[in-house]
């Protein structure tokens, strides 16, 4: 009797564990606000940079339009937008992020605004290997109401290990990576990942064939 209840308890534990690990599979985001807003155009404003690398913001900005437009939305010309804001005395991206969304929306005629903050863009050198880390926070707001329609956070990392060549080869390769750690592939991957759907991204826009067909509402 005692033994069977014990087995029963064990089985229950195993079941619970399975259920818990099953739940790990991507909790679906609530996209009802996004879908209700039906944005057609997205304004990408200059990126706020909280990393120590001063060049990160502009470099990162260059990786955003391609994956975003390929999702089927009109994406405003990022360089033109950046230059117009600079001309208006908004060269500091954090000022743009603090501006009222409807003011920005009216200025450009945009439906939604994509705010991106770089939290990490750094390289660490540990002995002979280089570890590059990037971390971004994405927030899409309705340009009229300022409501958050979608948000995501991506963190990517790679470590260049000594690929043979002994210790000397490893030192040489680490020195080369130290000269120019390549952040761009990581930044690109982060964007594609953030915008993929089904996945962390949002449904297809009006310029895609699967517009209004790929959206799967989350569980009630």
């Amino acid at each position: 009797m005692n033994l069977t209840s014990r087995i029963g308890r064990l089985a229950l534990g195993a079941l619970l564990a399975a259920a818990v690990s099953g739940c790990v599979a991507v909790p679906r985001k609530d996209l009802t606000k996004f879908v209700a807003a039906q944005p057609r155009s997205i304004l990408v404003i200059p990126v706020v940079n909280n990393s120590v690398d001063l060049t990160a913001a502009d470099y990162f900005l260059s990786t955003v339009p391609v994956p975003l437009a390929e999702r089927g939305y009109y994406v405003f010309p990022v360089n033109l937008v950046k230059r117009l804001l600079e001309d208006d005395g908004l060269a500091d991206a954090s000022l743009v992020h603090q501006a009222a969304p409807d003011r920005l929306g009216n200025l450009f005629g945009a439906d939604a605004i994509l705010y991106i903050v770089i939290q990490k863009w750094d390289a660490k050198w540990i002995l002979v290997s280089t570890q590059v880390t990037v971390e971004f926070e994405y927030t899409l707001r309705d340009a009229k109401t300022g409501t958050v329609l979608w948000e995501d956070k991506e963190r990517m990392q790679y470590a260049s290990d000594s690929g043979g060549g002994g210790l000397l080869g490893a030192i040489v390769s680490a020195a080369m990576a130290k000269a120019a750690p390549d952040y761009m592939p990581l930044a690109q991957r982060a964007n594609w990942n953030a915008l993929s759907y089904p996945g962390p991204g949002f449904p297809a826009g009006p310029y895609r064939a699967d517009y209004k067909r790929d959206y799967q509402p989350g569980p009630p």
Partner: protein, 131 residues
């Protein structure tokens, strides 16, 4: 032999299938933008790259991505080619109705005030003078 050829063909199909087909012809847009931010003073390279991408799209019959006509128009404006810039702002507006508000503003303002080119340290260059 035949089987091997078919296997190769299948492999090739699988390989091309893996690369996601882009809806637009981007050319070197993102790489050129990156380089433009690296060396803002080299405006010629940025302008030429945009022009090439637009030409390629036309020749290959592929779609021009959103924003590209406008980026090219703005690069022309920075060089003082106001009238040519307006042509491209018009193209952006005609291709993408979502851009109408911004493009109308760009067209209205083109030539009214001088545009300071990227990477310029001196005073703004004069926009194209009237004929």
């Amino acid at each position: 032999m035949m089987a091997r050829l078919m296997a190769l063909a299948l492999l090739a199909a699988a390989a091309t299938g893996c690369a996601p087909q882009r809806a637009y012809h981007w050319g070197r847009y993102d790489a050129a933008l990156y380089q433009h931010y690296q060396n803002p003073a080299e405006r010629e390279a940025w302008l030429t790259s945009l022009k090439t991408t637009l030409l390629e799209a036309q020749q290959e019959g592929r779609r021009v991505p959103p924003g590209l006509f406008a980026e090219y128009g703005y690069a022309l404006l920075e060089e003082g080619s106001t009238r040519e810039a307006v042509v491209y702002f018009e193209k952006e507006k005609a291709t993408w109705p979502e851009s109408a508000v911004l493009m109308e503003k760009m067209i209205r303002n083109a030539g009214q005030r001088p545009v300071k080119p990227a990477g310029a340290t001196g005073p703004a260059t004069r926009a194209e003078t009237r004929p």
